[in-house]
C-alpha cells in the first residue's frame, strides 16, 4: 500500500509541476490544485498508513495518529480558499490585461490588447 500511495503522490506532484510551468493562468491553477492534493495526501501518510484503526485512543488496541488528520483538514480548508481566491484573481487579470498569459502579454514582444472592460469604481 505504501508503494501505491507514494506512486500516486509522485504522479500528482509531477503533473502539478508540469502544469505550473505552463504559460496560461488556468493550467497554472490546475497545477496548483494537483500539487495541493499531493501535499494533502503526503501529510496524511506521514501519520503512517494503518487500516481499520480508529483515530481514538482507548477504543481498540490499534489506533491511528489523529494529528496529521487534523493538519490535513486545516491544509484542505486553506488550500481551498486560496484556490478560490486565485481563480477570482486570474479572472480579474484576464479582464484588466486583456489576455490570460501569466505575464500579461500574449507572446514575447507582442503588446497586450486593450482590456476587455475597465473595472468600475465599486468593483475594486
Amino acid at each position: 500500500m505504501e508503494a501505491l500511495v507514494a506512486l500516486i503522490i509522485a504522479v500528482l506532484v509531477s503533473c502539478g509541476v508540469y502544469l505550473l510551468l505552463r504559460s496560461r493562468t488556468f493550467p497554472v491553477i490546475l497545477g496548483l490544485t494537483l500539487l495541493s492534493y499531493a501535499v494533502n495526501l503526503f501529510i496524511f501518510v506521514m501519520g503512517r498508513l494503518r487500516t481499520g484503526a480508529p483515530a481514538v485512543i482507548g477504543s481498540s488496541n490499534h489506533y491511528a495518529d489523529p494529528l496529521p488528520q487534523a493538519l490535513v483538514l486545516t491544509a484542505i480548508v486553506i488550500g481551498f480558499a486560496m484556490t478560490a481566491f486565485l481563480l477570482v484573481l486570474a479572472l480579474r487579470a484576464r479582464a484588466e490585461l486583456g489576455n490570460d498569459h501569466v505575464d500579461g502579454s500574449a507572446a514575447i514582444g507582442e503588446k497586450p490588447v486593450q482590456p476587455v472592460r475597465p473595472l468600475e469604481e465599486d468593483e475594486v
Binding site: 496548483l32 501529510i43 501518510v45 493538519l71 486545516t74 487579470a93 484588466e96 490585461l97 500579461g104 475594486v124
Partner: protein, 510 residues
Amino acid sequence: MNHLIIAPILLPLITAVVLILLSGHRALIRTLSLLSATALMGICLWLLLTASDGQIRLYAPGNWQPPFGILLVLDQLSALMLLLTSVLAFFSLAYAVRGNDAPGDKLHAMIQFLLVGVNGAFLTGDLFNLFVFFEVLLISSYGLLLHGRGHERARSGLHYVVLNLIGSALFLIAVSALYGVTGSLNLADLAAKIARLDQADAPLAATAGVLLLVVFGLKAAMAPLYFWLPRAYAAASAPVAAMFAIMTKVGVYAIIRVFTQVFGADAGNLANLIWPWLWGLALVTLVLALIGALSARELRIQIAYLVVVSVGTLLAAVALNSEAALAASLYYLIHSTLICGAMFLLADVILRQRGELLDHIAQGPRLRQSGLLGALFFMAAIAVIGLPPLSGFIGKVAVLSAAGTAGDAVILWLIMLGGTLITLMALSRSGSTFFWRTHERIEPAAAADKGALLAVIGLLACIVALSLAADPVLDYAQRAAAQLQAPELYLQAMHDFQVHQEADHEREQQ
C-alpha cells in the same frame, strides 16, 4: 499565565472584524484603526519591557500541557519583532488615514488582518501554527497588494500569489516530513528530538530543513527567489508598500528562529545545516540587489531593491552564526525595516508632485515643496546608505566588526563596502534628478498633506532615536541573541510550564 501575550493577535483580529462591520463609516473606521494601532504599540512596548528580564514566557491557549497543543512563546526576539511591527503599522496607518486608503474603506481591515498574521508568526511556538499564521498574513497581503486598480497590480499580484501558493505547498511538505520523522511540531521539542535523531532518518529531516529554507527564503526575498518583489512592492499603494517592509523580515525571522533553534549547533547529525548554503545565497542576493538598485528607472523599484539589499545583508550576518553577528543583524533589521517603510512613504509624497512623470528617474518639473522633500530624502538616503551618523552606519559597523577579518568574512567586507558606494551612487542619481535637474516649471500639484508628511517625519524620527539609543538597543539585541543561541532555555521553560489547574473550590461549584 500572562494573558497579555495573546493580545497582539486578538486586538487586531477584533479590530478587523469591527472595521468590516462598520463598512461605510469612513471617518469612524480611520479613527478606530489608528486607535487600535496605538493601543497595540502600547501593549507591545509593555511586552518588550516584560520580556527584557530574560525569562521565556509561554502561553497555552488550549490549556494543554506542552509540547502538546498550541503554544505561544514570548522571548526577547519575538517581543522586539512585535514592537517593530506595531511601530511600522502605526506610521503606515497614520499615512493611510490622510486620504491614502482609497478606494473604498477595506484597506484598514486588511492591514489589521495582516497584523494578526505577522504578530502570530512572531509569537507562535510550533511549526504548523507558523504555517497557519503565514497563510493569514499572506491572504491579507494578497488583498492589500491588489487593493486599488491597475495593470501592474494585477500582473505582479498574480505572480506573487502563485509563487506564495507554491511556497505554502513546500512548507506543508517540510512540516509534515518533520512530523513524520520526529512526531512533534513544537519547536523546542523538535530541537530536542532532532538532536537525538536516528542516523537513518537524518537525510529526510535534512531535506525538510532545506525545504524550509526555500520557503522562508521565498518570503524573505533571498536570491534566486526575489524576482517577484521589486515589481510587487513598486505596484502596491504607499501605505501597503511601507507595511510590506516587515514582510520580508518575517521570512528572516523564521530563518533565524528555526535554524538556530531546531537545526542549530546542538542538532547532532544535522548541526548547522544551512549556514554554508545561506552564506553563499546571501552574498549573491546582496550583489544582485545592488545591481538592481543601480539600474532601476523608478524610485519605488529602487527602494524595493534596497529592501532586498537589506535582506542580503541580514542573511549574511545571520549565516555567520555567532552571537555578536546575530545581535548586529537584529539591530540592522530594526533599522532597515523602519527606513524602507519611510522611503516608500516619502516616494509616494514625491511622486504626487511630479505630474505625469510619477517616480520615473528622469528630468521633470520642479517639485512644489522641493526644499522640504529634498531635506527628508537626503536624510533618509543617508540612513539607508549607511553613512554616519545615522543608524544604517551603526548597523553596518556592528555587522562588519562581528564578521571579523578571518577567512570568508573578507568577501562580506568587500561586498558591503562596495555596496555602500553603489547605493550612494544610485540614490545620488535619483535624488539629484528629482531635486536639482529640473525644469523651471512647477507642476500644479497640491502641497503634501501635513498629516502624511508627519507620518514620514515620524518614521525618520524613529531612525534618529534608534541611532541615539544605539547602545541600549544593541545591548538588548545582544541578550536576545544569547537567548536564541541557547535552545535548552526553551526546553527548560517548557518543562517548568504549568497549565492552569482548576482550583478545588471551582471544581466543587461544578
